[in-house]
């Protein structure tokens, strides 16, 4: 028996998570970690899980729980900067980065309002080599129960955006590297359809160099990048979810008669053949 390299195992784990149903990401990730415990930290950082909400006990505002504000079993509220359950020595951003984090939370609260109308947003920043890094999380869920005649139609949808960036200051310019993941769930139940679950996630990376004259310009720069990539990803999700997978379904079974379609094609061919014969 030989020992496979750690990187191979991580790559293999990522490939596995790309195949297993996104509907069960949380359960499968925890099973995978049980199976290859040495990869624990790597996997948590590499696989995005659906976002969970919590209420900040100090400010009463909602915030999101993710790997980026977690220390042990506690989560840091971006509004109060305090851990829940309380931690005396929890990881904190430096005062300078915390100030930026506060502005980012205010700015993305407005962003969330304008694009999502509702939902929860959180920004988490941390100090990093040659600059800082952060995660912007956004989530929105919708539920519909409509009664049509005597049949109940149930619909549930959830959108989670997870943007992780690295900002490196280079003189008067900053280089930003952004990895954006959108997790989109849609679940529909109604009598004529049965149960339909169309869910998953897509990831995109983008990079940009932007000038910054003051620290708060970072927020505007990152904000514009996130705004652009979310619009692109929204279009991509629309195309993949409601275009591509639908085409695949209709390629598996044809509502129209394939025999009739073939007959029409044969007649067409014959007509063209006769026409060519007459011309020659």
């Amino acid at each position: 028996m030989f020992s496979t390299k750690m990187s191979d195992q991580i790559e293999c784990a990522l490939d596995l998570m790309r195949r297993l149903p996104p509907q069960n990401t949380e359960e499968n990730l925890s099973k995978l970690i049980d199976l290859i415990p040495f990869a624990h930290e790597n996997l948590l950082g590499l696989i995005d899980q659906p976002l969970k909400e919590a209420k900040c006990s100090k400010t009463g505002k909602d915030y999101l729980l993710s790997a980026y504000n977690q220390d042990g079993d506690s989560f840091r509220s971006p509004w109060s900067n305090e851990y829940d359950p309380p931690l005396s020595d929890g990881v904190q951003p430096s005062p300078k980065i915390r100030k930026l984090e506060e502005s980012a939370n205010e700015a993305f609260y407005t962003y969330r309002d304008m694009y999502y109308g509702n939902g929860v947003s959180s920004a988490y920043f941390w100090d990093d080599q040659d600059g800082f890094a952060g995660a912007i999380d956004l989530t929105y869920q919708s539920f519909y129960h409509t009664l049509v005649g005597d049949s109940v139609r149930k619909m549930k949808g959830a959108w989670d955006s997870i943007h992780v960036f690295k900002a490196n200051e280079r003189g008067r310019n900053a280089h930003y590297k952004l990895t954006s993941t959108v997790i989109l769930y849609t679940i529909t139940s109604k009598p004529e359809l049965g149960h339909m679950n169309l869910s998953g996630s897509m990831t995109r990376q983008s990079e940009a160099d932007c000038p910054f004259d003051e620290p708060s310009a970072h927020i505007a720069n990152i904000g514009r990048m996130i705004e652009d990539i979310e619009l692109k990803m929204r279009n991509l999700l629309q195309e993949v979810y409601f275009g591509k997978t639908k085409d695949i379904v209709n390629g598996l079974r044809s509502i129209n008669s394939l025999v009739e379609a073939q007959r029409q094609a044969d007649i067409q061919k014959e007509l063209v053949g006769k026409l060519l014969e007459r011309k020659s």
């Binding site: 020992s3 496979t4 191979d8 293999c12 784990a13 490939d15 790309r18 195949r19 297993l20 996104p22 509907q23 069960n24 499968n28 099973k31 049980d34 199976l35 290859i36 040495f38 700015a107 407005t110 962003y111 304008m114 694009y115 999502y116 929105y140 919708s142 519909y144 619909m155 949808g157 959830a158 989109l184 849609t186 529909t188 004529e192 359809l193 149960h195 679950n197 869910s199 998953g200 996630s201 897509m202 505007a220 904000g223 705004e227 929204r234 629309q238 993949v240 979810y241 409601f242 591509k244 997978t245 695949i248 379904v249 209709n250 390629g251 598996l252 079974r253 509502i255 394939l258 025999v259």
Partner: protein, 291 residues
């Protein structure tokens, strides 16, 4: 963390294998092999008899649930490997050619093909349904395979259509099962549609419906009865496909648009400088009012 025992590892690995998207069991299986080759945390594949037996059981369950198909020597049509044709652990029946065969659930190979004597009293109606279903498959399933079984007083129609396109990072599978009670002409059906799209992501459609219908098979003539069953199946499957297509439209037009807007209500992108100054402006305004 304590290392898991054999049983716990087997449960996780089997679970992963059973959750493999259509056409991707080999990829998941090979992934498990990669994990198992780490000496420190080996997951025992090829190392432990009990473990390997468990893995084989998972593969068998996956293949029979997924309606994996096999080609018997000399046969023009494929046969579905399913529990309805299962005689022994890895021994299956092809009702059409009236033969049994051994199926290897890892390699998907067929061996040990033997003639099989079918029950003559039920064979006529079974083969008549088979012919009618076969015409229906040709008419509506581009890559469809069907098998019609007789078991315990009922006829079971299994249909599968696979489209595997790993080069373009997507796979799809349609499965339907119809259990026909010839005495009441009742049909109990299940339709399952699964699609996996994994270019820069992992998007899956898991869709299923249970259906109960009664065919209007008034005649005793097997050909007419088979035609009535297939007509009912066609209608139910067409209705289902239409409902699925409608739901796609509904999701795209309503659910999706309600989650995140393409643009804010102002129809303009955000003015980030304004957003950042907004807070400061608001604070100044509040201060001004207080003062």
């Amino acid at each position: 963390m304590d290392e898991l025992n054999v049983e716990e590892k087997l449960k996780i690995v089997s679970g992963f294998l059973l959750e493999s998207p259509p056409g991707e069991i080999n990829d998941v299986y090979n992934g498990m092999l990669t994990f198992s080759s780490s000496s420190a945390y080996g997951i025992l594949m090829g190392d432990d008899e009990e473990f390997d037996r468990g893995i084989k059981q998972a593969l068998r369950q996956y293949n029979t649930e997924q309606y994996v198909t096999a080609t018997l020597p000399g046969q023009e049509t494929k046969v579905i490997v399913s529990k309805f044709g299962q005689i022994e652990e890895d021994l299956y029946l092809d009702p059409k050619s009236q033969q049994t065969f051994k199926f290897d659930h890892l390699l998907h190979t067929v061996t040990d093909v033997q003639p099989y004597t079918v029950d003559e009293t039920t064979e006529h109606l079974r083969s008549t349904i088979e012919t009618a279903i076969s015409d229906y498959i040709t008419d509506h399933y581009p890559d469809g395979v069907s098998t019609v079984y007789y078991t315990d007083g009922t006829y079971t129609v299994a249909i599968v259509d696979d489209k595997f396109n790993p080069q373009n990072l997507w796979n799809g599978k349609w499965r339907s099962t119809w259990v026909i009670s010839p005495d009441s002409d009742e049909l109990k059906g299940t339709i399952k549609v699964n699609v996996h799209y994994y270019e820069d992501g992992n998007v899956q459609l898991n869709s299923s419906k249970e259906i109960e219908i009664t065919a209007s098979a008034s005649s005793e003539d097997p050909a007419e009865r088979a035609a009535a069953y297939v007509k009912s199946i066609n209608k139910a499957e067409e209705d289902y496909q239409s409902a699925l297509n409608e739901s796609y439209l509904d999701l795209s037009e309503n659910t999706f648009k309600g989650l995140r807007r393409a643009l804010p209500l102002t129809r303009h992108k955000i003015d980030w400088d304004k957003v950042l100054n907004y807070k400061i402006g608001q604070e100044l305004a509040t201060k001004a009012t207080i003062e």
